[in-house]
Symmetry: C2
Subunit: 338 residues, 2 copies
DNA sequence: CAATCTCATGTAATCGATTCCACAAGGAGG
DNA sequence: CCTCCTTGTGGAATCGATTACATGAGATTG
């Protein structure tokens, strides 16, 4: 693999001149430029990004640490982040934390070692030491979807979706269809989205004169299995709920599994709704009513904010809003009842 | 961010000694080692991977270029690759080609510029110039799932799944359920998996005395939309097929959409099966019969082969076999008919 | 016409690590 | 006691780029 000095020798100039041509510095004579470019093409030369990064102290790479790649929401987020970054000539390196704090730390550390220019995180747990270290080291950082409330991290912009409005709409929908005993499969209390969705759900219910009973709140971990477990507990209750709201799509899937395994039917025996809409929800039996986040916009906003930070401009938090997508898993749509 | 010289100064030794401690070179006195380690902890020093890579000419990073992150098969593959690599202390950088040759080239180029140690590719199209350049530049390379047949690329190991057996089983299943007019939504002819699955399907049909008519072969591009389009064409035929086999999961989804949009039912009006099994197929209406690849094993084998190459050992191609997972989308299972 | 300025290019320092070689101190052996 | 070897450490070259500064040629100007 040829280096810059090979190009220099081949074109009969110094490495400085080659470098200037490559970074199109104005003061290079046209014919010299031609010669250098010819040599570059001839040798198939490509600048070594490692060496360049060492010298310039920038990698034009962003790190993205997400909690679970297998969750379609995060896959879609990752994709939109990569698209947005590429448009601005940045690369993205993805780290999958698999909802495990230790893996999350591993990836943050690795990315920092690689001297990425900025870090995009959707944190798994509460206070992570590596994250604090990163912030303290001055690495530009932005939270997406979830965030951490900790000393030293309060200046980190948060790009997120506010689900309150959509959750209120969901509760209204549930009420209109006659559901009264509603339950929620919550996410881990350590995550902001976990707590927030429960709170929003509870206050929306209260608005409609309903109460969220303590034993109608199940602790999940955003994985399908936990949805199954929590649903089993719900259905074993003396007075099982007639509607279940899962705080993410994987737990909704687990819930559906459990409901079906017991020979019960959605929505006749128990209604089901989920936070995060995904392409597959259209094709389940029945199609699942869900709250959709504007994933593309979320990713773009996150990249914009992070690159602002990287390039020394100020960046602000952004809150987008989610919307309810009504399907059939909570009962037939209003107009179409027999 | 402290550098090695800061540690050296703080510990009162030279940078050479610090480096020796960090790479646990034997000839360092115990108490010197202690002092250095203390300084490292004190300053929160982490070696700069960029500088290290420049000097040692290795990044301990693998590139993975896949054709579509949104396809659950590839997401799962990416995840298993990352897991396997991490176990061996390598990182993985993912590039999503989105089934676009230009994007694929973009990622290969970027990864090569970053001087990754090896490249794992599931190629989108036929002969890619960048891929040839990479191979010629001596970058260790391994193909997963799909591969390219081209001069200069014939030494690249291929880690793949052989679907012939499972496809034969599927055809048997289809026949047993009385389907005779079967059709296939093929992948792009430029991909090996695209061609192979059609061939295997055709010869399996022949074994069972059935013919695959020319107008029962639809050209898709592994995306949901193409599945919809091809299915529409099938259903508009004077003698539409009574069973459709989609060569990947996204096209199966599109097919299901189109079938349902016409008020037809699966499997009563037309049977449906897919290559690649994914968690969601259990939850569709009806659950979809699919051919499952051993994704985890595929990813692990690919990483093993690539790292063998990277570390100078020889590597060989691996072929694993797929299996049929029978559900209800082709008709009721044999034993349970009314 | 001399002084000055501009332009194109080269020389060399630099980024942060690794590693070869030199060297000093101390121990072993004759 | 002198030589030789071992052990621990430091100095300096190196990887491949970027860039501040120096330099020389030619153009401009008073």
């Amino acid at each position: 693999m040829p280096a810059i000095k090979d190009v220099a020798r081949c074109a009969g100039v110094s490495v400085a001149t080659v470098s200037r041509v490559l970074n199109d510095h104005p003061s290079v004579r046209a014919d010299t430029r031609e010669r250098v470019l010819a040599a570059v093409a001839d040798l198939g030369y490509r600048p070594n990004a490692v060496a360049r990064s060492l010298r310039t102290d920038q990698t034009r790479t962003l790190g993205l640490v997400i909690s679970d790649v297998l969750n379609p929401f995060f896959t879609e987020l990752a994709r939109s982040v990569e698209d947005a970054a590429r448009e601005l000539d940045y690369s993205v390196v993805i780290g999958n934390a698999d909802e495990r704090p230790d893996l999350q730390d591993h990836h943050v550390r690795t990315l920092m070692d690689r001297r990425i220019d900025g870090l995009l995180v959707s944190p798994t747990d509460g206070g992570s030491p590596m994250m604090l270290a990163a912030a303290r080291a001055g690495t530009p950082m932005v939270f997406v979807d979830r965030w951490i409330e900790a000393e030293g991290l309060d200046r980190v912009p948060v790009i997120r979706t506010d689900g309150r409005g959509a959750i209120r709409a969901l509760v209204a929908h549930l009420c209109a269809l006659g559901h009264r005993r509603v339950a929620i499969i919550a996410g881990p209390a350590a995550t902001t989205t976990g707590r927030e969705r429960v709170d929003a759900f509870r206050s929306a219910l209260r608005e409609f004169g309903l109460e969220l009973h303590e034993d109608h709140i199940g602790q999940g971990d955003f994985q399908a299995d936990s949805g199954r477990r929590v649903t089993a507990r719900f259905l074993d209750l003396p007075h099982p709920p007639d509607a279940i709201f899962a705080a993410d799509n994987l737990m909704a899937l687990g819930a559906m599994d459990e409901i079906r395994a017991r020979g019960l039917r959605v929505p006749d025996d128990v209604a089901l709704a989920a936070f995060d809409d995904i392409p597959w929800f259209v094709h389940t039996d029945p199609p699942i009513t869900a709250i959709a986040q504007p994933t593309g916009a979320l990713g773009r906003a996150a990249v914009t904010a992070l690159i602002d930070l990287v390039e020394g401009r100020p960046a602000e938090s952004v809150t987008l809003s989610a919307r309810l997508v009504t399907r059939r898993s909570c009962g037939e749509p209003e107009g179409s009842k027999p």
